[in-house]
């Protein structure tokens, strides 16, 4: 049934944005946990652990996010799990975000001079204590601008969850298009909403980065 595109459709699109934000939050949380583990593996003093981290990062960064979504959505059901789009999306995005956040945070950890680790060791601190009291507090400051930058990537990439039927902003746009048959206007509104979410974050990330350069 075709009907006119009206103001209520715009409100529905804005309402669907909360699922985009919810998925972003879940992906960021899951990806943060995975990413922390990956970053620690990558700076570990044991070579096999470093390789494990490197293989994970290269495997995930070398495959499309779409493939992960499909593998989890269609793939896991054959093992007898009933997979909802929520579960598939949460798993796929955690894996994806974990690889990128892990790489970002590894860079920040490694940007802290070796001598800082050694200073900690000479004070009698263990590996975890050095990490906790000396390295992480300094690395955190470096990590914030690129992490906010990646958050923008994450918000944009949640749009791919639409293809497994996860109802968020892009999927809502597809559904609205199907009933109103006004793709140009609808997708323009969808794009505008994404822009309104992402642009302030981009600007914020840039400001943080500039401040960091001034401070150094």
């Amino acid at each position: 049934m075709i009907r006119e595109l009206s103001f209520i459709d715009v409100l529905y699109l804005i309402a669907a944005t909360r699922w985009t934000l919810a998925l972003t939050a879940i992906a960021f949380l899951g990806g943060g946990i995975v990413g922390l583990a990956v970053a620690l593996l990558r700076v570990s003093s044991l070579a096999p652990l470093r390789w494990l981290g490197a293989i994970y990062v290269h495997a995930v960064q070398g495959t499309p996010l779409l493939a992960w979504l499909f593998v989890f959505f269609f793939g896991l059901s054959i093992f007898g799990f009933t997979v909802s789009p929520w579960l598939a999306a949460a798993a796929a995005y955690s894996i994806y975000a974990g690889a990128f956040l892990g790489e970002i945070w590894r860079g920040c950890l490694q940007a802290i001079p070796r001598t800082q680790w050694e200073a900690g060791a000479s004070l009698g601190l263990g590996f975890t204590q050095q990490l906790r009291y000396i390295i992480v507090p300094q690395a955190l400051r470096l990590a914030i601008p690129p992490t906010v930058g990646f958050l923008v990537q994450l918000i944009k990439n949640t749009s791919l969850a639409a293809v497994i039927g996860f109802i968020e902003l892009t999927r809502e746009g597809q559904l609205t298009t199907a009933t109103t048959f006004r793709p140009f206007t609808v997708y323009l509104i969808v794009a505008a909403i994404y822009f309104a979410l992402c642009f302030p974050l981009t600007q914020w990330s840039r400001r943080l980065e500039r401040r960091l350069h001034v401070a150094r």
Binding site: A59, Q61, G62, T63, P64, L65, L66, A67, W68, F70, V71, F74, G75, S77, I78, F79, G80, V152, K156, N157, S159, L160, A162, V163, T170, G173, Q174, T177, R182, P183, F184, Y187, L188, V190, A191, Y194, F195, C198, F199, T202
Partner: protein
């Protein structure tokens, strides 16, 4: 677990996969060339252009970089026909990918151009080089070397992102995978195989870029 993997049906459709792979490669390579051209021109406009030109390029870059690729694809493929511009799926995919990569390239190349110190350009002028020579030897070549790592990883990400064009039914590798999936019902096998294919492609691209860097930039 009672599931037994069966790759036979999937491998039987290898011609489909090969056809998709070729389009994925074509899309990636053409987009890289077009994206690089847009990037070079846009970055030059952004750094050396007049205030209006700078503003237009900035708006283009920010608009594209702050909206998802799939929405850009939908706008061009589903949206533009109502404005009288109609493309087939493969052309629409190529246009959307190029516009997308162009914006990212502009940002990367701009950072490279701005990293060239003014004094280098003045040194070129005092040696009597013409503006074209300065642009070629003093600005473009050294800044390309500096931005090459960032640019090449953006290109690899672009190659992976071409999988999204399957959603407007452009016949790339990922689209062929979903065709085989609907024929054989071997979901897991198909997508694992395709993921592996993308992984190999990504490795090959990284190798090729490392080779280009080695032969073009590292020796001078």
């Amino acid at each position: 677990m009672t599931y037994s993997f069966q790759f036979r049906d999937v491998f039987a459709a290898w011609e489909f996969l090969l056809e998709g792979l070729v389009l994925t490669l074509e899309l990636s390579l053409v987009t890289m060339v077009v994206g690089l051209v847009i990037g070079l021109a846009g970055a030059a406009a952004r750094v050396y252009g007049g205030p209006w030109l700078k503003r237009i390029v900035a708006v283009y870059v920010e608009t594209i970089r702050n909206t998802p690729l799939i929405v850009q694809l939908f706008l061009i493929f589903f949206g533009l026909p109502s404005a009288g511009l109609k493309f087939d799926a493969n052309t629409a995919a190529l246009i959307a990918l190029s516009i997308n990569l162009g914006a990212y390239s502009i940002e990367i190349i701009r950072a490279g151009l701005e990293a060239i110190p003014r004094s280098q350009i003045e040194a070129g002028q005092s040696l009597g080089l013409s503006p074209v020579q300065i642009y070629r030897y003093v600005i473009i070549f050294p800044s390309l070397r500096m931005m090459f790592p960032a640019l090449s990883s953006q290109f690899v990400l672009l190659m992976l992102a071409t999988s999204v064009v399957s959603q407007i039914s452009a016949q790339d590798l990922f689209h062929m995978a979903s065709i085989i999936q609907s024929r054989t019902f071997r979901d897991f096998e198909v997508y694992i195989l395709v993921a592996a294919a993308y992984l190999i492609l990504a490795l090959l691209f990284r190798l090729a870029f490392a080779g280009i860097y080695h032969f073009v930039f590292a020796r001078r």
